[in-house]
Point group: C2
Chain length 337, copies 2
């Protein structure tokens, strides 16, 4: 009507124009019973006419509930999967009419505290804490005062629910795939730290061999710094052994990238002479290598979804039996096996 509709409509405006009380409008809005079809439609009509939408601040004030979820990330920036995790979380949140609120703490404890303050002030439904790679973390106790789920990390004492990749299954499936393709001597270029991915994937490697009745040969398992000449040199050495492997399981795609280089320099063709399988499925790398790299995918999207789902649907009491979930890493077929 009037071109100058400065302030947006309130529930009062709707009530007045529909000639009903505010209570009735609220009932329509929230789908309560005990409203006759006639008045419901009438109110709905006015709502549409006015383009009325409830302001979330008022709703929150009254109900003490927000439709938002905090996502606190620790330096996740540097890893390219970050966004899959965020996407998974946001898709699931969206499905519950909720929205993500983001804070990156850059590994700074003060920022982490400030982030938690923010989350309290906003009365979020809960928070996710995501690490940049699968690892144990030590978080302030305040995390136990609101619903929280850890993603790609876990608290040492297991008191908080967490969701992480199933490293063992990933390693096992990777190696099983190689075994199925007739490889018996399978090299494993692992990373040097003791992080869960390192020990888990090794365990998977061993289990796959055991399941296939192939003896574990320690000379086929080496460790090297990722994405450095160390991988290159280690690969060369590994491939020049008398019992040279016919396949390589690489700790991750970056490792595989350097292994590729070594193999090329040795004149060994992938996959004809050596099969290679990676881990992480970093599209950018894996899909662009020649030949494209077969690899295990980290379930970042699914972890994000699971975490939000658990936050909203799960019971948020900080019990001692907080679920510690592991999600499988599926195989992504390309051309290196």
């Amino acid at each position: 009507m009037d071109a100058m509709q400065k302030r947006s409509a309130t529930i009062q405006d709707v009530a007045r124009q529909a000639r009903v009380g505010v209570g009735t409008v609220s009932r329509v809005l929230n789908g309560h019973p005990n409203v006759t079809q006639a008045t419901r439609e009438q109110v709905l009509q006015v709502i549409a006419d006015l383009g009325y939408r409830p302001k979330s601040a008022a709703v929150t004030l009254r109900t003490r509930q927000t439709r938002e979820i905090g996502l606190i990330t620790d330096e996740i920036a540097t890893t390219p999967f970050a966004f899959d995790l965020i996407r998974g979380a946001q898709d699931e949140a969206w499905a519950h009419q909720s929205i993500l609120v983001l804070i990156n703490t850059s590994g700074n404890p003060d920022l982490l505290n400030a982030a938690l303050d923010q989350m309290y002030d906003r009365q979020v439904q809960g928070v996710l804490y995501a690490a940049m790679f699968h690892q144990p973390v030590n978080l302030p106790d305040r995390f136990r005062e609101l619903p929280a789920v850890l993603v790609d990390c876990y608290s040492e004492d297991r008191s908080l629910p967490s969701v992480v990749p199933n490293e063992i299954q990933g390693g096992q499936d990777a190696v099983a795939t190689l075994l199925q393709h007739g490889h018996q001597r399978i090299g494993f270029i692992n990373y040097t730290t003791g992080q869960p991915a390192v020990v888990g994937r090794l365990e998977g490697y061993r289990r796959a061999l055991a399941a296939a009745g192939v003896a574990y040969d320690p000379t086929l398992v080496v460790q090297a710094d990722i994405a450095s000449d160390a991988v290159y040199r280690t690969t060369i050495r590994l491939m020049q052994q008398p019992n040279r492997p016919t396949a390589l399981f690489c700790f991750n795609d970056r490792t595989a990238m350097w292994a590729y280089d070594a193999l090329r320099d040795l004149g060994l063709r992938v996959p004809e002479e050596v099969a290679v399988i990676g881990f992480d499925n970093q599209e950018l790398l894996a899909a662009n290598l020649r030949p494209p790299l077969t690899t295990m995918q980290l379930p970042h999207y699914e972890m994000g979804r699971w975490a939000v789902h658990h936050l909203i649907a799960g019971n948020p009491q900080p019990s001692l039996t907080a679920p510690q979930v592991q999600l499988d890493c599926p195989l992504v077929w390309r051309a290196s096996v």
Copy 2:
């Protein structure tokens, strides 16, 4: 005191315990003048004791202002720079005590509309709209009804403020660098579309040559699909021409990755026999190639910062003279030149 402090403290609690009026507490909270040092300290003390923090819902309801900024992304997921942009935006927002609220629309117009609804309901200070690569976009008119800034994209009619990479400068500096290293015949492996990056970088290429007094040779400029055999074959062809270039400027790092392969297969060493420079600075690729790739960095972090800064500090009126900012792409030195 009491172990059962169920409901968190309100401003009323603070006022009561400090034996002052709520108005006084509010004045202390918001740093207003006209409060004696004594009462201020007294109030501050009680606030600290109670661990009181204002609930943002109540503040927003009263002041009609939030401390949050919406970030709407279009399918940005697939690109690894996404997070730099987010980080830049969040760092700047944080500096203004604001927080980012995230929605990814996956390129779905309905979702985009729903996202805007959310932003309205939450009364955000403004929104950023980020595309996954530098491009013109066509956005619904609703974007003009609240403060908005476009990042890595721009509206055709230039009615909304935007910030994008300076493609021309990037191309020019890349080529100038090669020229400075004594290269005269510089091949340019461009992409096939008409997007701003393609035309901008070509323009930069020409300007650099012109500035150095080197004639433009169209046989040195080719186009190919990114990250495919097309780049490989094109590079082979380019390098087998009689006037073979001594340096290559690649449209992006993925292109450079495939060019590397072609050069290797031709037995040409980088950088000794052919210098290579890329674009984008995708750490994951550029830093891990052998030799590590010298490349131009896209200013995602800075674009994120600029956008938030403009939103908060800039004048948000939707004037016809919306600023269209271009940020420089700095050179990142590695070892391929």
